[in-house]
């Protein structure tokens, strides 16, 4: 298993005719194998940019991303990605979507079938394997996306607001599923979210980012994800230590927003 190192990553978008935008400034962190990191921040804090850099879709202006000893220069099957929505291949069935990675890699059909069946069982979609994905609900589609990513057996899974488009109830169920998959597969996971509760519940570590320029504001180590594996999620989220953390972080983000609004009214 491999360690992910993000070293001094800065990202500046230069658009002709506009002031350059510094989306990320000197972001560094290390993620050990099997860790579950959630990244939280107000919109515009560069969290999606950061994830895209780790995924290899964007090259940072400065700094580098290294997985174990290999420099990240582009996307690869080592770093799987789960998007918010719209990334499933709607011309394929559930089964074919999940089998996409292995079949592109030319794995034998039988082996692929085994992997796919097992994963569909795990995410609770066995009865839907031959359905076209567009007939599934949003929550089911995200289950397919998770299974598709896992079928490829990546070293690290990057999730870009994977539950952002779901309704509150489905969201809670899916949080449980993500924890379960994390436990069962032992994968390293980075999860981006704008929900404080989700970030607290789904992060062994939590990084709070601040905007303009995007940077790491504060990092926490959290016990809730581990607890979520055995305890009732509702109880965890209603416990005083959870609420305390939630309020602390919310206050911090509110202050950030205030500061930005303040800056804006000064400059305008």
């Amino acid at each position: 298993m491999k360690t992910l190192t993000v070293e001094g990553v800065s990202m500046t978008f230069t658009i002709p005719g506009m002031d350059p935008i510094q989306a990320l400034k000197d972001v560094s962190f290390r993620l050990d194998s099997g860790e579950l990191l959630s990244i939280l921040g107000p919109s515009g804090c560069g969290k999606t940019t950061l994830l895209n850099i780790v995924a290899g879709f964007l090259a940072p202006t400065e700094g580098k991303v290294v997985l174990e000893d290999k420099l990240v220069t582009g996307p690869s099957a080592e770093r799987g990605m789960v998007f918010q929505q719209g990334a499933l291949f709607e011309w394929l069935t559930v089964e074919q979507n999940v089998a996409y990675g292995p079949s592109m890699a030319g794995k034998p059909r039988r082996e692929t079938k085994e992997i796919v069946d097992h994963l569909l069982e795990t995410v609770g979609l066995r009865d839907f394997s031959s359905k076209p994905v567009y007939q599934l609900s949003g929550g089911m589609q995200q289950r397919v996306a998770l299974a598709r990513c896992l079928a490829n057996d990546p070293e690290i899974i990057l999730m870009d607001e994977p539950l952002g488009a779901l309704d509150a109830l489905t969201r809670e169920k899916m949080q449980g599923l993500i924890l379960k998959l994390w436990k069962e597969t032992g994968k390293t996971i980075i999860l981006i979210t704008h929900s404080v509760e989700e970030a607290l519940f789904l992060g062994e570590r939590l990084m709070v980012m601040a905007p303009r320029p995007g940077r790491i504001m504060k990092e926490y180590g959290l016990p809730f994800a581990e607890r979520g594996l055995v305890e009732d999620p509702r109880e965890i989220k209603a416990a005083s230590d959870f609420i305390e953390k939630r309020e602390e972080i919310l206050t911090m983000i509110w202050d950030m927003e205030e500061e930005i609004m303040g800056h804006r009214s000064e400059t305008s």
Binding site: A55, A77, F83, G86, E90, W91, Y100, M104, N152
Partner: protein, 288 residues
Amino acid sequence: MSDKNHQSSLMIWLGLADNSFTRQKTVKFGDPSAVNSGRAYGIIMVAGLLILWWVSTNFGWIKPIYWPSYSEVGNRLVKLLSEGYRNVSLWDHISASVYRVLSGVFYGAVLGIPLGLAMGLSSIARGMFDPVVEFVRPIPPLALIPLIILWFGIDEFAKIFLLFLASLFIMIIAARSGVNGVNISKVHAAYSLGASKFQVLRTVILPNALPEIFTGLRISMGVCWGTVVAAELVAADRGIGSMIMIAKNFLQTDTVVIGISIIGLIGFGIELIMRVLERWLIPWRGTG
């Protein structure tokens, strides 16, 4: 359900009563889904036109040279079906036209789709072909007929070439916009699942562009069907367009009317077939 709200399914089918869902709506003006089929009025309209036809020709309000009577059309149709027109059976006239359209669309698609994909994917291809496409696109295919007669004469090849041109640019633009319409998340997902560039093209870009390509095929069919008739009006010894042109010269209005009706019916039939094919081949259309 109260009696007041009960409407027979016949009344609903005829569009004389709202269906049970629309009946509950209080806002109907401005809500297009609350406008029912109005089928009864359609039936009245068509019947009225047919009666007007019968009355006007039967009482001599209109001369046969301007519009034929039922019996003239009927007799001519029987004759066309049994003897054909000018030693060519009616079926051969129709199939000549349909064959030209299908060939034109086929060649247009075979060249146009790869070109359009290339223009969506590579700046070299886009740069090279964009000026040509943008220049030729607004030219109606019919305006090319004189040039094509000069180049290739008036034989079969010339006609198919004209239709090929008509369909080519439609297909290029359809394929290009199909590529442009791809959700970048899908492409990113494919790459991070380990797909190569070629695999991304084959398994993501191409299927993603299929709905647009199919729309292009449908438009091509329609445009080529219109163009083939016009091209046959100019010069041809068979084909449905040539049939009505020659009939006109002999003042056979009945044949002209029958020919025009056939053109309309086949155009409509092509559209229907394409719609069925579309639902069958691209069931995911509009779901991305």
